[in-house]
């Protein structure tokens, strides 16, 4: 059986071209393995071999990501690759980001197995761990002797078509992706077993490690409220009657953008709720109970603040994935800021 063809991606330094002064070199190919690539030969056990190497300057990649990725993919394809290994990048930040991006593109655009290796604090990890298999390495190049066998074993497994097990089982960095499975025993039995282990002081493994939530810097307070434009948003699911944008009652994948122009109150003639996570009777009867437009208009008229921003956003915060909520928030934040809004009130149910 002919060995699998692997292409190796390296930066200018590991590719032997030069140091920082050569960080601007464009992607170029070499036949066979180069530099650290040579170390993979033994670990790949003749089942695969590095048939070519693509080298790119970290600076060029960072400044021309899309273009560089396209050029690199073309060079990889020219080798008729079966799989791609990028790095290991150890703790080099730009290199790690490039390795992650290339592996991700190989997977997404060439539909080939690809993986990388980096130190856990490399910025490339946070950027790409969800979509790319990354083997943990030490923070400097002396760790190559441990990185190579681990990366080789995994790329061979991926080439064989076998599904990879969990991160813990296979030795790659946790991608943070939850995947369903069937256990041998029902959850209730597992729970009682886990409690008894915990009570006895025996080791046990939680099936869901608690997440850490990042903190966002506190935005400075409004100084001049009398002239401030305030936006009103909700994730309580209030939408124009009929839910024209079909916002889902749970796991919303979109938000609606609507106008308050000429409207003084969120009456039940105009609005209803699309949220499936609470008893909708009260919100449907008087949507102001979730979207306090009537009171905002009163306060606006009285001069308590400058102006109610005409556009409002709504989505359903019922089982909304955090990733989706983050995306909505980013888009809304950009749009509101660009429109000159000074502050925001968000209501939730």
């Amino acid at each position: 059986m002919k060995p699998y063809r692997i292409v190796h991606y390296l930066n200018q330094f590991f590719g032997g071209v030069g140091g920082e002064e050569k960080a601007d070199i464009k992607p170029e190919s070499r036949e066979g393995a180069v530099g650290p690539g040579v170390a993979f030969k033994a670990a790949l056990k003749g089942e695969a071999e590095i048939v070519g190497t693509v080298i790119c300057g970290d600076g060029y990649f960072a400044e021309n990501m899309e273009k560089a990725t396209g050029e690199i993919l073309a060079l990889i394809a020219a080798f008729k690759a079966d799989a791609v290994i990028t790095g290991p990048a150890f703790n080099a930040g730009r290199y790690g980001a490039a390795c992650g991006a290339v592996a991700d593109a190989v997977r997404a655009k060439l539909d080939l197995p690809a993986l990388s290796g980096m130190y856990e604090e490399n910025p490339g990890v946070d950027l790409y761990r969800k979509s790319v298999v990354i083997v943990p390495t030490s923070d400097n190049a002396r760790g190559i002797k441990d990185a190579v066998p681990a990366m080789s074993r995994l790329i061979l497994k991926m080439l064989s078509g076998e599904t990879l097990g969990s991160a813990a089982e296979e030795g790659y960095m946790e991608r943070g992706i939850r995947v369903n499975c069937f256990h041998h025993r029902p959850g209730a039995e597992r729970a009682v077993e886990m409690l008894l282990s915990k009570l006895r002081g025996e080791p046990f493994a939680t099936e869901y490690p608690m997440p850490n939530f990042d903190r966002v810097p506190i935005a400075p307070a409004l100084k001049d409220i009398k002239n401030a434009t305030i936006a009103l948003l909700t994730d309580g699911g209030i939408v124009p009657k009929g839910n024209p944008d079909r916002i889902e009652s749970s796991s919303a994948t979109r938000y609606g953008t609507y106008s308050f122009a000429g409207i003084d109150s969120a009456t039940d003639k105009l609005y209803a709720t699309a949220h499936g996570g609470y008893d909708p009777t009260y919100a449907n009867h008087d949507p102001n109970r979730v979207l306090p437009l009537d009171v905002m208009r009163d306060l606006e008229r009285e001069g308590a603040f400058g102006k109610l921003y005409e556009t409002w956003y709504s989505t359903v915060g019922n089982g909304t994935s955090v990733a989706m909520a983050r995306k909505f928030g980013e888009e809304m934040g950009q749009a509101l800021k660009a429109a000159g809004v000074d502050a925001v009130i968000l209501t939730s149910t």
Partner: protein, 77 residues
Amino acid sequence: MVKEIERVGLPIVHICTIIPISLTVGANRIVPAIAIPHPLGDPSKTPEEEKLLRRRIVEKSLLALQTEITEQTVFND
């Protein structure tokens, strides 16, 4: 959503009932609401009383927006 909007530099108030969740997730300015199905309403009251309650919560929110804070803050009465 609250955090991403605040990240662009806009002060934002989160009016919600389950304060612990908002605190855990990391909102900075939080104003307590009345109940999940009617955060700014109370069907056990008359419409006039409800509107007054609603106004108080919104006024508290406007105050929160103008208040400099150094850590996550729940604006109780």
